[in-house]
Symmetry: C2
Subunit: 202 residues, 2 copies
């Protein structure tokens, strides 16, 4: 049986998305056939509008509805601390935790030589310029890239570059260790090493 | 941080799909922001066209580009055997196996009293009418609903109804047992019971 073209096209679209294989793409598409046409039209409009109605903030490169974004223009937030993250989703996760009251800088990626992504392919030059332009005001850079090999390498690169700009700026890395609710028994060695290294005194 | 409305709308659309939770919906949507606008527009058009360009076959209720569908109108296929399946995806899976050369009947669901789905809510009346109208020609009904509780109950219901129409029609159920490549050690008891019951002589 040849799958009808109209169905195959939507399957192909879904397959382009991360984590959706051929089987899931099929299942999702055939499920959509059960929705009313209005839902499909609305979904279609929303997809078309997705990029048109959002902009990248020219200060922090977060995605928002306005340039400058809501966080950068918030006068309640501390201007002297910048938290550097890989991705917009990381900003959302951080904001959900509600702990951080400074500004962000979104790299939109990570230094990854194996995939030929260097420092200039992500928003590192813009970060360094931002720090340079505001070196009197900025007190701390918190590097919150993921604790992966690429995340650590990117962090190290940024540390070196920021030190070149000013020795006065404090640079920190978010804490590594056991996540809350985890079981030491099942933790991997590197996480345990990190957890020991970042132990805190009572 | 409030997620921009345009983004939240697409997240909400994705969340309506089966197997996609809030986190995946977010991840998919933010990934879409990296695609070019043309891709989003194409995806949008394909979604809108999905239902408009497909029809349900009035004979077998398979989804296709034409009514009658390509399988029902194929004169090479045997007209005297009907394979009853739950879903259009089951037709695709069966066709991929390439073993069955008869016709299909798609129920578009399963009898499921817990969710208030009775025989008349799926395409069982249409199946029975189809058998009644062609009782001279039809030799066998293969019931290929899933080997779940609801699938078995639906199968039993169809068996009873078909027997009421004609005692001459052979009714069979697809084989149950261990899938190829499985490990007896890890098989559940019911599957093993079924595998023993449907053992075949050499």
């Amino acid at each position: 049986m040849r799958i009808p073209k109209a169905i195959q096209r939507v399957i192909d679209n879904f397959e382009q998305l991360p984590g959706i294989g051929p089987k899931s793409a099929q299942r999702l598409t055939f499920h959509l056939l059960r929705f009313p046409q209005e839902y499909l039209d609305e979904f279609a409009t929303n997809l078309s509008e997705l990029k048109k109605s959002t902009v990248i903030c020219t200060i922090c490169f977060n995605i928002g509805e306005t340039d400058v974004c809501a966080i950068c223009s918030d006068i309640q937030r501390e201007n002297q601390i910048i938290c550097v993250v890989e991705d917009v989703l990381d900003v959302i996760a951080m904001e959900r935790s509600g702990r951080f009251k400074g500004k962000y800088h979104v790299l939109h990626g990570i230094i990854d030589p194996l995939n030929a992504i260097g420092p200039d392919d992500i928003y590192i030059p813009q970060l360094l310029k931002r720090i340079k332009d505001n070196s009197e005001r900025i007190q701390e850079i918190i590097i919150a890239t993921n604790p992966t090999m690429e995340g650590e390498a990117t962090a190290m690169y940024i540390v070196k570059q920021v030190k070149n700009i000013s020795e006065k700026i404090k640079i920190s890395r978010i804490g590594s260790g056991l996540p809350i609710g985890a079981d030491i028994e099942y933790a991997d060695e590197i996480t345990l090493q990190r957890a020991m290294e970042s132990r805190r005194e009572y």
